[in-house]
Assembly symmetry: C2
Homo-oligomer: 62 residues x 2
């Protein structure tokens, strides 16, 4: 499977916010993360970077 | 492997811009796509959405 773990990146700090993310969709004022298990989380921020071979999604909060 | 294909999304149209993308990094005025083969492409835009189980990265141009 090709899901990835989502991290909020703040300067040098990476905070895991969701594992096994499949979908990330834009939503009013931010983005919605949806995992392969159906878990959902809204984050006021945007996708900053990806490192897919390492299964990482980096998010910057706004 | 967990790379994905990057598409520019414009209304209902999806245009493939790079296959097998591993890294997407922010860069002045846009984002840089880097594939697992080392190909690179700069795009004036941002990551809009992800559908990782389907190996898709959606980009909106600015």
């Amino acid at each position: 499977m090709c899901e990835a773990n989502a991290y909020i990146r703040n300067k040098d700090k990476e905070t895991l916010v969701m594992e096994a993310v499949d979908l990330v969709t834009p939503e009013e004022g931010g983005i919605r993360l949806i995992s392969i298990f159906g878990d959902q989380k809204f984050i006021k921020g945007h996708i900053d970077a990806l490192s897919l071979v390492n299964h990482k999604i980096y998010i910057t909060e706004e």
